[in-house]
Symmetry: C2
Subunit: 457 residues, 2 copies
């Protein structure tokens, strides 16, 4: 029996096992679930040992533990693949909107409903079952496999980065493999090859040192809200092009090849408008909606506040105004450099009557993976064989900071081999994983590991 | 004995009586003080009768009662003066900051500390004591006097406007007299002759119909906060000149005479900066700070909110953004017309990808009183004789809506004859009334009423 046949003949077993994993309410953000987090880590470690990993252990961090496993039977000449995933989940709230209990996995038709089904327990479990298929047939995987599964992804991975940098030898590998993204459909497999980075700032504008009466001072004292709005308006033109000098200096332009590839993505404008809930799209002229939302940098005010924000009218000329402003970045923009550039610009354009403070809240590098590497080609063939249709390359507008971490700490690229679907309702009530995607995921991973064995990374 | 001598020889009596008035905690906004409001109205009615008014009564409204009194002994050929004031006070909070109990009036040196001392019980009481001085000497005031004292001024006077319009015959008079403003100093008596009006709008900008992930949609969906900031920035230039077409069409320009008069006001730039708590003044070029803050229209964002406003970073592309925007208006701008103009402009400049809704929250007419009327000249002479120095005419940046109400309902102008001082701490802890200002106020009112008898209004 080959591993694919093994996988195809053990569907029901795999599904029942996944349900056991999903029954553990490993909500990382809620202290009352700390014991469940430990339980999930232990369950995962035991299951790694069960499926054949000779070594699997729970490694403590200052937060929730990391589960590490390795199976290095392929030998030093074979490539090593580092699999990343997370065993923690989002809170299930609001509970009343769930049609089935979030921690009692329930199959309805072809979908398995549970918190964490798609994000990310179901996708983590794919890799365990691929390993099991190799164990049961070939005795071992065709390449060396290391696994690192964290329990803090849903709370911003505070321990993960330091852990990777502190364990670069342990984690040394030739390529990383992450299943935490989605394909566009069962008939439209897709491979994400680029992610945007992020620079996130909080801006505080102070005018008078106390709130003033707008009747007594209005007209002679600069209102910090008015000033902040004007400054925000000066960061971007009406079409969304960012007007901060130097902002685009390091932006890697889309080449014609890549634009042609992105143009292959199925995109229905009416459906997109409906999903976004907008009357019209918007953004930089000369780029398609897909390009604007994934391959171009942005500037969004994520929050703004100041003055009187209760019902009714109060004629205050406030002392302070605040905004949270974030920029999605593309290769090769550096988040720290961009944050400094923006802070400098805001201070430069601030009117002399106010004071501007800028805090750098958060940043993350974008990433772009070569589409012509042997590993990416192996992924391409694995999807094509499994789904019966060639996958399309796409860029993702959000960030997966771990990709940049692996790049920096381990010097390796990441293959994003996701099997979620766009309607999986991640982070929302009634999260689900499409059961055929789960099964096809296992086959795709089997074929990918076999492919990497043949061609290298 | 003449009335001035009577007033000068009864200082201690007047002060003790005022203290009794101030002991009643007539806080209009707090339901638990409803009985105190009734008590203050009764006390005031009784005191009006005591000082000689033949008729004084409590007139119910849907809210707190109005105290009305009249003394028409001067006969139909003499002018009638309508005195307005309010017997309600602001809450004393924060209590811990008071150095003396807010409702136990305490004289410290030349100041009487109590909530309501200056705003407005002390100034209301001036008119009662002026009447008493006439009663004790001439037997009756030289003109007909009507009094209307409300108990809802500190909560926006909801019952007052309807009351005045419903009682135009009862309240018919030749001129109104209000003591609820301040002079610049005991050596610098001032008469406020103009008030700014107000148009107050709430703007809602809706982008997507639900919050979106800024990674997935950012760059292709117009963010309503970004849009709102840009719209606000387009309402005004960097120097504060409002750029809404038509906004200045009806603005009555300052004539050279008036500018010369305003330039007489003592103004120390360093002191002003310190009081405002700002690094620099700001505003329309070509106008002084005094002119900008009192004689020119303004546009202030009084409040703004949208998106994520808690600590930390959330990458939301929000559905909605809000701003409260008010404009201080000058004669002859009409608040309703300005509100419509602004709403139309905002809708016109709104990008097609968002929806803009504008609510007209509140409006009030400005007012300007002729400086050359006989009544104003009588006020001028009364201040000059009492304080020993000619008063300066000044404009006030805020609004006193009752002035416009009297103009519209009764067709009369108002003389604002205030005796507060700039450091009276209205609405704040340790409110006080300067005792010499109280005594001089009584003399000024006596001289004013005598002056109006001689010259008419």
């Amino acid at each position: 029996m080959n591993p694919i046949t093994y996988a195809q003949t053990h569907h029901d077993k795999f599904l029942e096992e996944l349900k056991a994993f999903l029954r553990i309410p490993s909500v990382s953000t809620q202290p009352e679930h700390k014991a469940d987090i430990e339980r999930a880590a232990t369950w995962l470690r035991d299951e790694l040992l069960n499926v054949g990993f000779p070594k699997a252990e729970i490694m403590p961090t200052t937060g929730h533990p990391i589960v590490y496993a390795e199976w290095l039977a392929a030998g030093p000449d074979a490539p090593t693949v580092l699999v990343y995933g997370h065993y923690d989940v989002q809170p299930p709230d609001p509970l009343e909107l769930w049609r089935t209990p979030p921690f009692e996995p329930t199959a309805v038709g072809d979908d398995l409903f549970a918190r964490g089904a798609s994000d990310d327990k179901g996708q983590v479990f794919i890799h365990l079952k691929a390993a099991e298929a190799f164990k049961a047939t070939a005795g071992e995987p065709p390449v060396n496999v290391k696994c690192i599964f964290e329990g803090e992804e849903e709370i911003g991975s505070p321990s993960f980065n330091p852990f990777v940098f502190a364990h670069t030898e342990l984690l040394a590998a030739d390529v990383a493999l992450i299943s935490d993204t989605h394909i566009l459909g069962m008939d439209t497999p897709t491979i994400v090859y680029a992610l945007r980075g992020l620079a996130y700032l909080e801006v505080k504008v102070t005018g008078p040192d106390h709130d003033l009466h707008s009747g007594i001072y209005g007209g002679a004292v600069l209102n910090p809200i008015n000033a902040l709005c004007r400054m925000i308006a000066r960061m971007q033109d009406a079409d969304g092009r960012i007007t901060i000098p130097g902002f685009y200096d390091n932006v890697r332009d889309l080449d014609p090849d890549e634009r042609a590839e992105l143009a292959k993505l199925p995109f229905d404008h009416a459906t997109w408008l409906e999903e976004a809930g907008v009357k019209a799209d918007w953004g930089e002229p000369g780029y398609t909606v897909v390009e604007r939302a994934s391959a171009r940098p942005t500037l969004d005010v994520n929050g703004i506040w100041g003055g009187y924000i209760q019902p009714g009218a109060k004629t205050v000329l406030p002392s302070e105004a605040y905004a949270k402003i974030s920029m999605r970045l593309v290769p090769d923009q550096n988040p720290k450099e961009i944050a400094r550039l923006v802070a400098d610009y805001l201070k430069q354009i601030a009117p002399p009557a106010v004071t501007v403070e800028v805090r750098d809240l958060h940043g993350g590098d974008g990433a772009i993976v070569r589409r012509d590497s042997p590993a990416m080609q192996a992924a391409f063939r694995a999807y094509a064989e499994t789904f019966g249709v060639e996958p399309i390359f796409m860029r993702e507008g959000g960030s997966i900071p771990v990709v940049a971490t692996f790049q920096k700490a381990l010097g390796i690229e990441t293959i994003l081999m996701g099997f979620g679907l766009p309607d999986d309702r991640l982070h929302s009530p009634n999260e689900k994983f499409h059961i055929p995607a789960f099964y096809k995921g296992i086959e795709t991973v089997i074929r990918f590991l076999e492919g990497v064995r043949q061609t290298g990374v």
